[in-house]
């Protein structure tokens, strides 16, 4: 690719100066344009980049200065919103949290970074996938406080120890890194997936919540927690460091011993 596509939509014009200390890396992206392509294709771009750059910077460089048609999601670009989950060198990561220096080849070897859309969800265009099946599974586990009876007249108090039980699973940002790293989810989309179970866990083990039984019943189904094969892909993929497999095992234990 040369810089002749400067005028395409989304492009910002002429190439910026190459900063000192920049290395040229090849970014290989799995692309798909539903209006042109029958099959996904690979596109490669040679980009000058600093080791301190994030993968998201490389994508921005391509979109702004090389090929404005490149499509991907990103919002905050600081690992909070969970928009830019993608498969980078074969593992699910947030593009805004992966530094180039961690992907550079040792010595003087040329570095190629492969970027694909997350697996298991329908691809709309390039790295943009349809998140709806993912959110459908999320909604199915009732990820909100469920209470019965009259509202208490004062705040619902919770001890620090009670809060600690589900602290880990409150960190989820719904980026879908875990669910789309799960081999069971790849082959069978009806599986709720790690993210939905993590968000069920967050309420099941909340002492203020009264819907644990309903959620456990939902996850006891054929598409629930028993589908998990403990491959730990989800724990490895989580950009928030949530012990996803552990949370799934805790839900299994709650079902097994009928105790939350």
């Amino acid at each position: 690719m040369t810089a002749t596509a400067e005028t395409t939509a989304g492009s910002r014009g002429s190439l910026p100066p190459v900063p000192d200390g920049a290395v040229t890396v090849t970014v290989k992206i799995r692309r798909f344009n539903p209006e042109i392509d029958d099959e996904p294709r690979w596109d490669s771009f040679d980009i000058p980049a600093l080791p301190s750059d994030r993968v998201l910077n490389l994508l921005h460089h391509i979109k702004w200065y090389v090929d404005g048609t490149l499509t991907f999601r990103r919002s905050c670009a600081h690992g909070i919103c969970g928009s830019d989950a993608m498969r980078i060198n074969g593992v699910n990561r947030l593009a805004c949290k992966v530094l180039l220096k961690d992907l550079l080849e040792k010595g003087d070897k040329h570095t190629t970074i492969t970027i694909e859309p997350i697996k298991g969800l329908p691809v709309h265009k390039d790295l943009l996938v349809d998140m709806e099946p993912f959110f459908e599974a999320f909604r199915a586990v009732k990820p909100y406080l469920v209470t019965y009876g009259n509202e208490p007249t004062r705040e619902r108090i919770q001890s620090a120890a009670d809060r600690e039980r589900f602290d880990d699973t409150t960190k989820c940002i719904l980026c879908a890194c875990c669910t789309t790293s799960c081999p069971v989810y790849w082959t069978e989309g009806s599986y709720f997936g790690p993210a939905a179970i993590v968000n069920a866990h967050r309420f099941i083990f909340d002492s203020r919540d009264e819907g644990a039984e309903e959620r456990l019943d939902i996850l006891n189904d054929i598409d629930g927690v028993w589908r998990c094969r403990t491959t730990f892909n989800c724990t490895d993929a989580c950009p928030r460091g949530i012990q996803v497999t552990k949370a799934i095992q805790e839900v299994k234990r709650a079902l097994l011993f009928k105790r939350v």
Binding site: E214, I218, N220
Partner: protein, 135 residues
């Protein structure tokens, strides 16, 4: 979802009960796996290592073992547990990988029929084995 609260003061709404089948099958896999470790390793040790191993195995050896209810029970439980454990494992693999409902159904039918046939045949042989059969 709309909540139908006919007993608004009850602390917990009884949840719609679904089957516990998946839970029991998961639990069965763990327990039968533990038992099979003992049964299969014991079987391999007796058949292949102890007292000259496979060289002493002949019709008489098998007949002698199956004369004892203990070994009959051992082999019977090994047959049933291994078949159901393995069959359940293949069932989950079919559930994971079959994309069409028809494919899933027929693969599972094939699996269940083969399981029933092997279990029935094995059980039949263990209980009706005749050590005095000639030739």
């Amino acid at each position: 979802m709309s909540l139908a609260l006919d007993k608004p003061r009850s602390p917990r709404r009884p949840a719609a009960r679904r089957g516990n089948g998946e839970l029991y099958s998961w639990l069965f896999m763990r327990l039968s796996g533990l038992l099979l470790v003992i049964l299969v390793l014991g079987h391999l040790f007796i058949m292949n290592i102890l007292d000259g191993g496979i060289h002493r195995i002949n019709f008489g050896f098998v007949a002698g073992r199956w004369a004892s209810p203990f070994w009959q029970f051992w082999d019977l439980s090994m047959l049933w547990l291994a078949q159901i454990h393995g069959g359940n494992g293949v069932r989950t693999i079919i559930n994971d990988y079959a994309r069409k409902d028809a494919t899933r159904f027929w693969l599972k039918m094939l699996l269940y029929v083969s399981m029933v046939l092997i279990i029935a045949l094995g059980t039949f042989v263990i209980f009706t084995f005749d050590p005095n059969i000639s030739n």
